[in-house]
Symmetry: C2
Amino acid sequence: MSGGFELQAWMQPRLARVEQALSGWVDASAPAGLGEAMRYAVLDGGKRLRPLLVLAAAEAVGADTSEAALRAACAIELIHAYSLVHDDMPCMDNDVLRRGKPTVHVQFGEAQALLAGDALQTLAFELLTPSFDRVPADIQARCVGLLARASGYWGMAGGQAVDLASVGQRLTEDQLRQMHRLKTGALLLCSVQLGAACGMAVPAACEQALVRFGQALGLAFQVVDDILDVTADSVTLGKTAGKDAAADKPTYVALMGLEAAQRHADELAQQALQALAETGLSDASLQPMRALAAMVVQRQH
Amino acid sequence: MSGGFELQAWMQPRLARVEQALSGWVDASAPAGLGEAMRYAVLDGGKRLRPLLVLAAAEAVGADTSEAALRAACAIELIHAYSLVHDDMPCMDNDVLRRGKPTVHVQFGEAQALLAGDALQTLAFELLTPSFDRVPADIQARCVGLLARASGYWGMAGGQAVDLASVGQRLTEDQLRQMHRLKTGALLLCSVQLGAACGMAVPAACEQALVRFGQALGLAFQVVDDILDVTADSVTLGKTAGKDAAADKPTYVALMGLEAAQRHADELAQQALQALAETGLSDASLQPMRALAAMVVQRQH
């Protein structure tokens, strides 16, 4: 799909590094079982799309990926994991299955799930700010700022609030896009930005093209998510299928129908690839991001 | 109480600056009512002890308090506010009254309270990382690291987990101290550290003495909290009185009795003052911290 580039061969060692780093950084010995609940939430599961995007973007701009980018990759996965833990709680989506396992509150109780989510968020910012000799202070500060803005009330958390408020509402395509731009798009875009932020002196035009890539990819991801909620079963998804429709949530499939939603996902993937071509980065260095974009659209879960 | 120093006169303009800054920084227009819930949680209430400690420590070490320290002061108050919102939720302490008002989940619903707490935490880290021309990157990175470590699983969140696990347990004084060192002490200590971190080239011996001050003050605060839970009424406290005893939680009063707890608080306050004297900072510059320590021990709510 990407001219001889083997995504699996690229992914495998990077996934292993991310898993190992997460396992090393989420401390099992934290007080009163909190560390265990956090590890349960974050280890042994997940596609790790966000960390892979961080590493792919960092490599593309020539950043060292041994420390700053690896920390950023793990930090954004911790934010993603915290949001899932809280989103699954009874007062939110009340879901019992996630990544093929009982959700954190089912396994550890609601209070511990609340705390584990809270502490996963905090740990993300802790990972980004090690002692200065490991990561330059300006990269630390830039990554914290990017991640906080993407996951806060004008990003992921705000999107969740819109999602809550939209149950049973009819949204226009613009409103639906706006909700997803916040709820899932902001963090996917941030993955790409974090990778770029680990590089030195990335030209503004390149950064802007990477932003367009991240935006299109983020939206494509959500459209595909809406499609899979309808077409896949719970075992394949590792989470409860059909729950958006059951909860009367607005989705791209509900708005435009299945076929048009699929076409829309393909268009967005094309936009993402076009944006990559405008980064001015070498074709070879863009291959991982290009292949990840294709994976997002073609995924079955 | 502190040789002619007027704490109220020192506090009043600083409290006004903190309130104004918080009101400016917690955006009412954030999506789907989330900003309003966050403002409800953080504005018009609270003693602002943590922000005052940040500013007092920053002034003592000669740091500029117009930007970095003001941001740190507000950031730690946001962390404190998020912890109260989540702590009050039905799955935790299930409390309905806070600062004399209905708690956030009573006012806005559980889902919005969960999100508001999450987003208040995120906003704390966003405040600490503005564009670089306002605050040097090394101060930004240092403050984020301090705040994340103090509020995460080896700090406040970990202390909450220990607190949850300790209901109905008999703890030794060592275990009780360890719980409070995490649950409330870490954030109070961090307030002092954040203030010092906004200064340039604070000598290590001074920093260490400030740490000892923050540790003693944090523990004194909790001992007094335990005392007030027994001796004050809900109207004075602005929160439900007697709830620790009702929930069969271990407290200093339960462990050592009311009089010995009061003596212990006084001893800790003495330790705090002794540590201040060892900072090597001028007596005049230490007056606000000294008076705040006295206020912590003498407070009625």
